[in-house]
């Protein structure tokens, strides 16, 4: 019977088939992860893992090739080698900066180049423009494309359009991984977040990502938990592991460890890897490094000892 339905008919009823979310309980559960006590060697291992999962980001109108070079260097060598800290997972930049990042990092870099695309951050552009932008970013050497969904279409109930755009962008990504930004701050309800996650995963997302960082609230623990649960249910339904990237608003080492706890206890060990979990942040890295230094050396250093990205 489902096969007889046209695509749009299915999307008219998709809301009824996607699980609902209870706000009070999901917020309680998310808060419970922050009460885990992560100390000593677990803290150090966790912080290093956070560094290895970080998409070090600069998304400003005033970005220049020079600024991107700073960022790339910091991502490759976050801190002196004696702290035995891995490089970041990726740098995340605007499309115009992709070729500069690629040139700086070279082709064999452990640090990937991620580019926002599809009319970031609003997504209020024609599909043709979005596809062209994606094609160029991928062509310039981006390993990963962070696209935004059309929130206007989503909120007006045109889920078909949201899905079609993701599928179309996925197609032009080629070998590049696709992260789909839901911009949860604009979707507002957990039910919407859950539904948008489902649409994105079905349409071909490799990762789902909370936010652009340009809208408040950005990533929160409960929103991320709702998305992790969507990933879990999708995994059991299809056998496909989708990645997760909370982005925006994660500024402290303590917060980032709480996210790691949440991933560990929701999806298990497989997702504790940069292949399936990323943190998008611009200011988090130095706080994490400060905690690593403190854990290793036993005392805090001032911010002056940590290089700016």
């Amino acid at each position: 019977m489902t096969q007889l339905l046209s695509g749009s008919a299915r999307f008219r009823s998709i809301r009824a088939t996607v699980p609902t979310v209870d706000q009070v309980t999901v917020e309680d559960r998310a808060a419970a992860f922050t009460r885990r006590s992560i100390k000593t060697s677990a803290k150090l291992a966790g912080l290093k893992m956070v560094v290895s999962m970080m998409d070090l980001t600069t998304l400003e109108g005033k970005d220049t090739p020079g600024k991107v070079a700073y960022l790339c260097r910091k991502a490759l060598h976050p801190i002196e080698s004696r702290y035995d800290t891995p490089p970041c997972a990726a740098v995340c930049v605007y499309p115009n900066m992709v070729r500069h990042a690629r040139r700086f990092l070279g082709d064999l870099s452990p640090v990937k180049v991620a580019s926002v695309a599809t009319g970031f951050p609003s997504g209020q552009y024609a599909l043709r423009t979005k596809l062209e932008e994606t094609r160029r970013a991928a062509g310039d050497g981006a390993d990963e494309i962070d696209m935004v969904i059309d929130r206007g279409a989503f909120l007006s109930g045109d889920f078909q359009k949201v899905s079609d755009e993701i599928a179309a962008v996925k197609e032009v990504c080629g070998a590049a991984h696709l992260k789909v930004i839901l911009e949860t701050g604009e979707l507002v309800t957990y039910d919407n977040v859950r539904l948008a996650s489902q649409i994105a995963m079905e349409a071909g997302a490799d990762f789902i990502k909370t936010s652009t960082g340009k809208v408040q609230p950005a990533a929160t623990m409960p929103v991320t938990l709702v998305m992790l649960e969507a990933i879990r249910d999708y995994f059991f339904a299809t056998g496909i592991r989708i990645g997760m990237k909370p982005a925006g608003g994660i500024r402290t080492a303590k917060q980032s460890l709480a996210y790691l706890v949440m991933v560990k206890e929701t999806l298990g060990d497989d997702w504790l890897s940069p292949g399936l979990f990323r943190l998008g942040a611009s200011t988090l890295l130095n706080d994490v490094l400060m905690q690593i230094v403190k854990t290793v050396d036993g005392n805090y250093q001032s911010a002056d000892y940590f290089s700016l990205p």
């Binding site: 899905s163 079609d164 696709l178 879990r232």
Partner: protein, 519 residues
């Protein structure tokens, strides 16, 4: 224009495929075969132990608290208090006899007649507020003591028990001078001396539930804590001393079942409030019948937690977990019978199986422990016996695969499937981290099954549809029904049972009614 329509046409073809068969990002992860779809909760990133430091002093010996002073029991007998997580002796506790109970009741009567019943409500309230603040100040110390004495995880004694203890004293402190507004048009008068017997699952919280309303209404108290968990009640006694509570207003007589018997048989006690097993509740009810003693009983339960197929399932699983594994399942209102609608039965069981793997069992003083020690070897024996009986009757056991400490009393978080309504594990209160899972087809059937028990303390309903909640809540014969949540408590909300789960309410205006005569 041509280009645009071409692009759209192409997309539609793509979509038609994508809708029916989700696109696999094949270059990232291969599709995992059905049988291999498992979450791995291993030790890729394990938490190191995070034990709470223990800045508390446990006296080698605790005496009775009678008439404002700590005094030795007349017979000079003591028993050991054991830390259930280590099986080590913590201290000795006085074993109060009938003569000690008599002394306590006399002190309570004197305090009632000379001071407490005559004191204006707002003055009584001041004492309760003072006690509440002192509990808050000492919350850490009390939480640690509670965890060492009873085995519950520090996470719970710190984040649930102690804040709720303080909340009960604050709440009832507020009522003390407003009793006339609680019962409009009627005049509330205190009852006299209240004898209160409390269980071991929430030692200090149960003491607060009993003492706070009694004092707010102008009664005096003789309280007996459970034999295995007396320490925090005696530290509360020290707080009463510090708060300057007049002598004899609260008396604490530790001891055994014999001590409790002396309290409910004492002729000069006006009211008995008991929380504990239905078995003992019946004995107390018989003893009090015809004596003129007022009685409230809060007894056992075998609560149904009902998951309808439209429920937010991921959250419902959290509700199941907090319903049965909170405080090792030593909760009278624990959701120990799970009813899942058939359409989502398999999904819920699978999610629950994954979820219990992430529960951390072990040292209760570790801040990351979710499930602590079983309170006593006797209780552990009872849990084992009932689970074995479930297996013998054909139930299938699902347990987390965690390792248990070598010493102490432990039981893995467990649930049983293949259970029917006539299994013992579906009828008797296990009072441990053991859940019996059953299915149903229609909401009517769920209600019928949920009500098919001699108990009636609590229930839970999980559905996304508000109208279903209201319909079911009205038909469930249980004192508390939680909708899309479980084990939530507030001093303003009355708590108590139907049928063999007891009578009378604790908390809120309804709870005050148990401690006043109205005229």
């Amino acid at each position: 224009m041509t280009m645009k329509s071409k692009a759209t046409a192409k997309l539609k073809v793509r979509r038609a495929v994508a809708v029916l068969k989700p696109v696999a990002p094949a270059h990232v992860q291969p599709v995992i075969a059905d049988r291999d779809r498992r979450l791995k909760f291993g030790d890729k990133w394990d938490y190191t132990p995070a034990p709470e430091t223990v800045p508390v002093k446990i006296a080698p010996r605790y005496e009775l608290f009678i008439d404002g002073k700590f005094t030795a029991p007349q017979a000079g007998k003591y028993f050991d208090s054991i830390n259930p997580a280590t099986e080590e002796k913590l201290c000795e506790i006085a074993n109060g006899g009938a003569e000690d109970v008599d002394r306590a009741v006399k002190a309570a009567r004197r305090a009632y007649e000379t001071v407490w019943s005559k004191m204006p409500g707002r003055e009584r309230g001041k004492y309760l507020f003072r006690v509440a603040r002192l509990v808050q100040e000492r919350a850490r110390e009390l939480a640690i003591l509670e965890t060492m004495d009873g085995g519950k995880p520090i996470k719970e004694s710190r984040d649930f028990d102690m804040p709720t203890v303080a909340a009960h004293f604050f709440h009832h402190g507020g009522w003390a001078d407003k009793l006339q507004y609680a019962f409009p048009g009627r005049t509330p008068r205190p009852l006299g001396v209240a004898g209160q017997i409390i269980p071991w699952n929430f030692p200090l919280l149960m003491a607060a539930w009993k003492i706070a309303p009694a004092l707010a209404c102008g009664n005096t108290v003789v309280l007996k804590p459970s034999k295995t968990t007396s320490i925090t009640a005696l530290h509360l006694a020290a707080i009463f001393q510090e708060a300057g509570l007049p002598d004899g207003v609260v008396n604490i007589v530790t001891g055994t079942a014999e001590t409790g018997r002396a309290i409910y048989h004492h002729p000069d006690v006006n009211k008995i409030a008991f929380t504990g097993s239905t078995e003992v509740g019946k004995i107390i009810a018989q003893a009090c019948a015809g004596t003129g003693k007022r009685l409230t009983l809060e007894l056992g339960g075998k609560a149904a937690n009902i998951i309808l197929e439209d429920a937010p399932l991921n959250q419902a699983v959290e509700g199941i977990v907090s319903g049965i594994y909170f405080n090792q399942g030593h909760v009278c209102c624990a959701g120990s019978r799970l009813f899942v609608q058939e359409g989502v039965f398999g999904t819920v069981v699978r999610k629950l199986r994954d979820r219990i793997q992430t529960l951390r069992v072990g040292n209760p003083l570790d801040k990351n422990t979710d499930i602590g020690a079983i309170n006593s070897s006797a209780q552990l024996e009872k849990i084992r016996e009932l689970v074995q009986c479930g297996i013998d009757e054909g139930a299938e056991v699902e347990q987390s695969s965690c390792t248990l400490p070598a010493k102490g009393y432990w039981f893995r978080p467990t649930f049983l499937t293949n259970v029917t309504m006539s299994h013992r594990v579906a009828r008797e209160e296990i009072f441990g981290p053991v859940l019996s899972v059953m299915s149903f087809r229609t909401p009517e059937e769920a209600i019928e099954r949920a009500n098919n028990t001699p108990y009636g303390l609590s229930a839970g309903v999980w559905t996304d549809k508000g109208s279903k909640i209201f319909k079911m809540v009205n038909q469930l014969r249980a004192g508390v029904v939680w909708a899309n949540s479980y084990n939530k408590f507030d001093p303003a909300s009355p708590f108590g049972g139907y049928k063999e789960s007891g009578f009378g309410r604790e908390g809120g205006v309804q709870g005050l009614a148990g401690y006043v005569n109205l005229s």
